[in-house]
């Protein structure tokens, strides 16, 4: 089975993250950038499928030059090759545009399954898997906490707040995963050394036959019009128990609609 895993480089969610003050895009220059956490689970799942049934795993990244670092890191976990779409005109693209670039890149590859994280920790819009599947004309199996491949059929347990739903599709599909699906491996020392020799194909918009004026911040369908830093945490309410503490607590919970 030929699997393509979408990998996005994002600012480390464990560190301070900021938006640029002029255009409100994510400030990638000053951040320490890492593989989007959820994507590591997608890579792990792809490697497990490959280990069980054979095949090939390719990483697909749309991102700036600096994303090479995350690509090498992803390859050190075990995938065979990577495709990096890099073009200055892409900067600031929204989900609609990014899904078009991804779909075009997938058009240059042979694949049976696309795996990706259910969300990226920077934008958190969660729509790329759906948009991409729509563009590719294949089913979207999203938010998986479990994936079973049986011959031509792919079945997921879609994680929901209440439990899970079983969703099945046959043939090619886009599957997005949550961090409940597996435990990603660490790269091995040998894997890190091997990753340096794995092929990384670089593609530009021209290589994909996409016009520069269809992507980028200036042509985006959505725009961030303003942004403000998160307000400092409020002091909270202190309840002093003078015999009525329990009642006051319940009232607080009721007002906040917790009960």
């Amino acid at each position: 089975m030929k699997i393509v895993v979408l990998v996005k480089q994002v600012p480390d969610s464990g560190a301070e993250r900021t938006l640029k003050s002029d255009d409100f895009t994510v400030d990638r220059g000053s951040a320490s950038n890492v593989i989007n956490e959820m994507d590591e689970y997608a890579i792990e799942e792809a490697l497990r499928i490959k280990e069980a049934q054979g095949g090939e795993v390719t990483i697909l990244t749309v991102g700036p030059d600096g994303a090479t670092e995350s690509i090498r890191k992803a390859l050190s976990m075990g995938p065979d090759a990577a495709v990096h779409v890099v073009d200055g005109a892409i900067a600031g693209s929204d989900a609609v545009q990014t899904s078009a670039v991804l779909a075009a890149a997938l058009g240059t590859l042979e694949w049976d399954l696309v795996l990706c994280g259910a969300e990226a920790t920077d934008g958190r819009v969660q729509v790329i898997p759906h948009m991409l599947a729509e563009r590719l004309g294949v089913p979207a199996l999203t938010g998986a906490r479990k994936l079973t491949i049986d011959g031509d059929s792919r079945t997921i347990e879609r994680q929901t707040d209440e439990g899970y739903e079983v969703v099945r599709a046959d043939g090619k599909a886009v599957v997005s995963v949550w961090d409940t699906i597996n435990e990603p491996r660490y790269p091995s020392f040998k894997g890190i050394m091997a990753a340096k020799k794995k092929p990384v194909t670089t593609l530009s918009l021209a290589d994909l036959g996409l016009a520069p004026d269809t992507v980028g911040l200036a042509n985006a369908y959505s725009a961030v019009v303003s942004a403000a830093p998160r307000p400092a945490r409020q002091a909270g309410t202190r309840v002093t128990d003078e015999g009525e503490g329990g009642v006051q607590l319940v009232e607080f919970l009721a007002v906040e609609k917790f009960v």
Binding site: R185, Y186, P187, S188, F189, K190, I192, M193
Partner: protein, 393 residues
């Protein structure tokens, strides 16, 4: 006040020989931060041996670093391997010590095994799923190891082993044992080295020792009651055992020394963060010279210890004699760890004396490093004899 230990330790400036080594140290630090640091306090408090953590290290290729690639190793110089051990010890001494003991335990086959034995045993030993142990000490003889009394009597194509080995790290949970036993007369020439399968009938691990520290590291006696070991598991020939044991310990001592450097660094990291936050008399205690000088002395001694360890390792990597230099490194680094952990308890005051802060545990853990793989008295004996022309102990 909040515990500062959650912060990631600052990177140590290292001169590494290759870009490959830099990648390796990065990987070791990543795994140490992700898998060792979050578990150490809990596993130590419960005295649980972290077998799964060793598997994670094994899969990442960290349990075979200084051995040849052709048998599954990573062909790394000792200089690099020891800095990996140091980074692990900085997060969890028991695990780093376990890596050192395992690496030591692969040495007899790697260095003294026949080609056939190497092909047969090494790939599994270095494969990352197995852990080894090294059985030299006995209840009645530690420092005077050449006086060991466990007997291995040749019987057809087997040896029959009877006796008790003491203080075996990984005793009861190892996948292979290097056993040093007497096949001949008294003295070092009568000793041989056998590679023993832990499933051998008659081999009975005893209850784990209840130690002052290193509680997550299992140390047990092993009773051998007429245990049959196939003769093709004899390493290096009869009578070569003591030489194997001493050669293995030369490298092993550097592993212990690297553990000591990592432990001391960890104590210093913690105490520095604490001293910058804790205020008395309206100022951070780090601003008092009496405290700042303790930290400065500790940092200096740690740097000196690290240099000594790496300089001995570079001699070893160059194929030059290094055993006296290894003895000096072990002596200095482990004494440094004891002194530094003692002083870092002092920096925390009363808070240093309670289990809420890890320096209390580091202090207890440091002590064992002055004892294992040759007490620091024995290291001094080795160094003094070399200075005055005496033979080895």
């Amino acid at each position: 006040m909040s515990a500062p230990g959650a912060a990631r330790p600052v990177a140590v400036e290292r001169m590494l020989p290759t870009e490959e080594a830099t990648e390796l140290l990065g990987l070791a630090a990543e795994i140490a931060d992700g898998e060792l640091a979050p578990r150490a306090a809990d596993f130590e408090a419960r005295g649980e041996f972290p077998r799964e953590v060793f598997r994670t290290l094994g899969r990442a290729g960290l349990l075979s670093l200084p051995y040849p690639e052709e048998y599954g190793g990573a062909d790394q110089p000792y200089e690099v391997y020891l800095q990996v051990v140091e980074e692990l010890a900085r997060r969890w001494l028991s695990v780093a010590l376990g890596v050192s003991v395992h690496t030591l335990s692969c040495f007899p086959v790697a260095e003294f095994g026949t080609d056939e034995q190497r092909k047969r045993f090494l790939p599994d030993m270095l494969g990352g799923e197995q852990l080894g142990a090294y059985c030299l000490s006995e209840p009645a003889g530690g420092s005077d190891a050449a006086a060991l009394t466990t007997r291995a009597v040749a019987d057809g194509d087997e040896y029959r082993v009877t006796g008790t080995k003491a203080w075996v790290s990984h005793g009861g949970c190892a996948d292979f044992y290097n056993l040093f036993a007497r096949t001949g007369g008294p003295g070092p020439e009568g000793i041989s080295c056998l590679l023993v399968d832990p499933a051998s009938p008659g081999l009975v691990p005893q209850a784990p020792e209840r130690k002052m520290g290193l509680s997550a590291e299992r140390t047990s006696q092993l009773a051998f009651d007429d245990v049959r070991v196939p003769a093709d598991r004899l390493l290096g020939g009869e009578g070569v055992g003591f030489r194997i044991a001493m050669r293995a310990l030369d490298g092993g001592r550097l592993g212990i020394a690297a553990c000591a450097v990592g432990l001391a660094q960890s104590a210093l990291d913690y105490a520095c963060a604490y001293a910058a936050e804790r205020e008395q008399f309206g100022r951070p205690i780090a601003a008092f010279q009496g405290v700042g000088f303790l930290l400065a002395d500790a940092a200096t001694q740690i740097a000196a210890a690290r240099s000594l360890v790496l300089s001995a390792a570079r001699l070893k990597d160059a194929g030059r004699p290094f055993s006296v230099e290894a003895a000096k490194a072990k002596l200095f680094a482990t004494d440094t760890a004891m002194r530094v952990t003692t002083d870092m308890v002092q920096v925390l005051g009363g808070y240093g004396y309670v289990a809420d802060h890890p320096v209390e545990r580091y202090f207890r853990e440091a002590k064992v490093l002055q004892i294992v793989e040759g007490t620091n008295q024995i290291q001094r004996v080795v160094i003094a004899r070399a200075l005055t022309g005496g033979g080895p102990v």
